[in-house]
Symmetry: none
Subunit: 359 residues, 2 copies
Amino acid sequence: MSETPLDLTLDAPALTAQLVDFPSVSGTEKPLADAVEEALRALPHLTVDRFGNNVVARTHLGRAERVVLAGHLDTVPIADNVPSRLDENGVLWGCGSCDMKSGVAVQLRIAATVPEPNRDLTFVFYDNEEVAAELNGLKHVSEAHPDWLTADFAVLLESSDGEVEGGCQGTLRVILRTKGERSHSARAWMGSNAIHSAAPILAKLAAYEPRKPVIDGLEFHEGLNAVRIEGGVANNVIPDACTVVVNFRYAPDRSEEQALAYVKEFFADCDIEEFVVDDHTGGALPGLSHPAAAAFMAAVGGEARPKFGWTDVSRFSALGVPAVNYGPGNPLLAHKRDERVEITRISQTEERLRSWLTA
Amino acid sequence: MSETPLDLTLDAPALTAQLVDFPSVSGTEKPLADAVEEALRALPHLTVDRFGNNVVARTHLGRAERVVLAGHLDTVPIADNVPSRLDENGVLWGCGSCDMKSGVAVQLRIAATVPEPNRDLTFVFYDNEEVAAELNGLKHVSEAHPDWLTADFAVLLESSDGEVEGGCQGTLRVILRTKGERSHSARAWMGSNAIHSAAPILAKLAAYEPRKPVIDGLEFHEGLNAVRIEGGVANNVIPDACTVVVNFRYAPDRSEEQALAYVKEFFADCDIEEFVVDDHTGGALPGLSHPAAAAFMAAVGGEARPKFGWTDVSRFSALGVPAVNYGPGNPLLAHKRDERVEITRISQTEERLRSWLTA
């Protein structure tokens, strides 16, 4: 039994606050996964399965369609923004409030309060979404127990500002190493400076102009950025190594192969010693023309927008399950020190999903 | 009485081996300082003073000129290269063999074997040269007992490959921080990439052309280099900070103020958020036109070369004592695992100094 059980009788905003106050930075999700599992096992209309720190709960009502509601339990590192704080304007502040404990709270509320949905439901809570693809809990579940994820349609409650977001961009991370030769910094001409060799890489990145293709009526927006740089041996040594980690976010009309070829070509004249693909996950086309997606759109209303960030809709897409992002957080506030969410948006998301699932 | 007294009747190469086998990594010089003090106190023509682990011994013959022979007792950390080993080619291997126990051996031999030099002599043995400037024993002596160092000329027996090296270059280390604003890397346009902001800094460094001024007949060679770079928050975050550590090695015709102004001006258009001076020590002019230096040059022969690295000749220069580097080691071998010295070079240095001081 976990020390701080989750109270699913709280409304979704209050449950979000409880979840923010229950730290679960990537790699440390076990206590929260335990608490989620315990809360779900108390619900007699659900069967509950566990794999690692991933929890899957399902109804078995024999409905014509099965729908997944999915969310990740982990957050980026806390930045002086826990515990949560509700301000006088109805805004809840704190690490994960937006990305995506408000979405998880909505999942848990639907699980607790809709025992007889009009579609069979599968709730998926998983770990390590904010770190490397190899660690991603949804990936692990999809490989070890793909049957747990069988469905006609999936809603990922990633922050999308209460609007439906279709598809997602791919993400490729490469490590570029430049070459050099050590020498004493008082005799720099005896060596070759690997940090200086990174100058053309940074210059090209600084001058990069993003492509913004329109796909299925949605305008995507690519991005190519250095997310880390590191070089140096000692304060009096000309360094023989410098590493630039580059992240390419690309629209889903590029395949993984095309995305990689683009980045290789982009840096072709930069005299790179070593080019390593560190992480790569393709995007997902919006798929809004699928009947299940269209029915969902009609029920929750609004107009679909493109999803810029990579999300696990791509994994559902790869499993043949059409998927959209639909969550209460504002994605522009994700990973920020001043991360926050409007509590009316949390309640609205919960109510719209409930209407769709009980109509 | 120390447990392993130094035997000043050995020749300089054998004494070098004894010194290498007497470990004295920076911070642990006391036993060796004790042994040096004890050996010098046994010589009736010298007075001996001690301050911390620094030992100063002087003749008082009323000569027209006074000359300092100086060397540091410490070494960089041992790297599986103690005890010493003399190979069949007359090369002595071991930690400190080059930097600079061969020089210290020559100092001790001159102290022991030249009781009536033609110039009054001051022998200085000091600690902590290989670590931070604040710990440097010569600095401590120069502040606490500047009179102990009064002289017309100084020879620092730092490794210079048996040639006279004049002056030394200054060294300035600055930390440059660029600005940025965090955002998710999937929506890079919401933030500002601090690593990309470092592009102009690296571009300027890569395009830098060193100045090579000729001073007192010696061609110096400046250098401006990034020695470290670091930036990044997480693999999916546009970073709000990037730090470049730059080392400027400058010829001694620039003052410290001029060197700093040069670097500030060099990066003036690089949009730097913060510019921090992390370390700064001025250079030393060669001073080879001084009569004492000229006489020394005439006596030991060869052609003077510029010293690129910073050495303690700069401290003598600041005290108004012209100084040169003249030691048996090859400076390119200093601090290396395979540090070594040719024993004929040690004997040659000893003989040339003896000739100069007894002519």
